[in-house]
Amino acid sequence: MSEKIETVNNAVACFNSLPESGDGKYTLKIIVGGITCALKLIYERHYNELKERYAKFLLNDPTDVRCDINIDVFAKDEWDSSSFPAIDVHHINNKHYAFRWDFHSEFDTITGNGRFLSIPDTNILTIDSFVRISYSLMVVLHGGFLIHSAAILRNGNAFLFSGVSDAGKTTVSRISMAENKVLTDEISLVKPSAGEYIAYGTPFWGELQHGLPDSGALKGIMFLQKDTDVYLSKLNRKKALRKLMTNVLFFAKDENLSSRLFSICCEAVTLFDSFDLHFLPDNSFWRCIDEQYSEQICSES
């Protein structure tokens, strides 16, 4: 057995010795894009910090009704941080594992149960990473996806501005805040409803530390290109599909889920427009978008 396989097997095995449910006394519930999540936390500090971070997405439900996602947090005093310098994902049937230097996690896509293991005084960003991973898996089962993008509501319609780090998501969000509703500057949740896709804000914010629990019918996705000129370049469906898949958050090597996500993305690019948005760091790009969509509205009518 190679050293790597043994390391992974040992990491998976650490969950066999964990109880199904943790001893967490502090339960926090959130709702993002209609998908509910309960976090059972051990430490009051984690509870308070996450409560603040997710403040706009809290679900006030004191009952024991299970959420779509149910995460139990565990702590382990001794920790070998050298085995997984970067995130490493595996799955055994419906159980998805993510191992990183600062946490090990397991998420069952059938039950929606997750177990998260880290050092006792872990940073809440580590727990937030696992919440994101859990949502990225669960949303696929709801026919949607998480995507690296700002989501902005303009006149009731949602537009996504997508790209990797430093593509300009935060810049576009900051510029747009005065006249529009910025739902998120970092990660959007997209899900189908009644023949169209809806973009939702998330608490998985970036530099702006801004997320709103609002949503809108998704009209278009703009892949950000910093430039010295401002224009939109419409993408054909093949290019749109490739760019969409590149920017979707997905932490699994599960063939069934991957195929499902692929089908979702194929469907999605037929239901909203995709563009490369060449932009300057000012609000001139909105003029291009307004012109594009006013032309569409005219031609549709």
Binding site: N236, K238, S259, F262
Partner: protein, 97 residues
């Protein structure tokens, strides 16, 4: 080249694919990689059913495109070989169900 021409060829069971604007986009789920075929490769890919050999695929393409058979056999053999390496296709000495 002669050996591959007599092989039966099928699409791998686990791939996901869609034809978008007459060109196939294929995902190999094991690595979540996207692979794109041009229009000609897509029409060859569409004829793959596990019951045809590479040579039969060449004959179908010969009826469709004005290209010498020797050239077609070389190009299609290369294409099939590349797609097999990417785990998109599987080859066999017998028909594949």
């Amino acid at each position: 080249m002669s050996s591959i021409l007599n092989k039966f060829v099928a699409r791998a069971d686990n791939i996901a694919y869609r034809t978008v604007a007459d060109e196939a986009v294929i995902m190999t789920p094991a690595d979540s990689m996207l692979h794109e075929l041009n229009e000609v490769a897509t029409s060859i890919f569409a004829n793959i059913n596990g019951k045809r050999t590479v040579r039969e695929l060449c004959k179908l393409a010969f009826n469709e495109y004005e290209v010498e058979m020797a050239r077609l056999e070389a190009d299609i053999s290369t294409l099939i070989g590349e797609l097999e390496k990417k785990n998109i296709l599987q080859l066999s000495d017998a028909p594949i169900n």
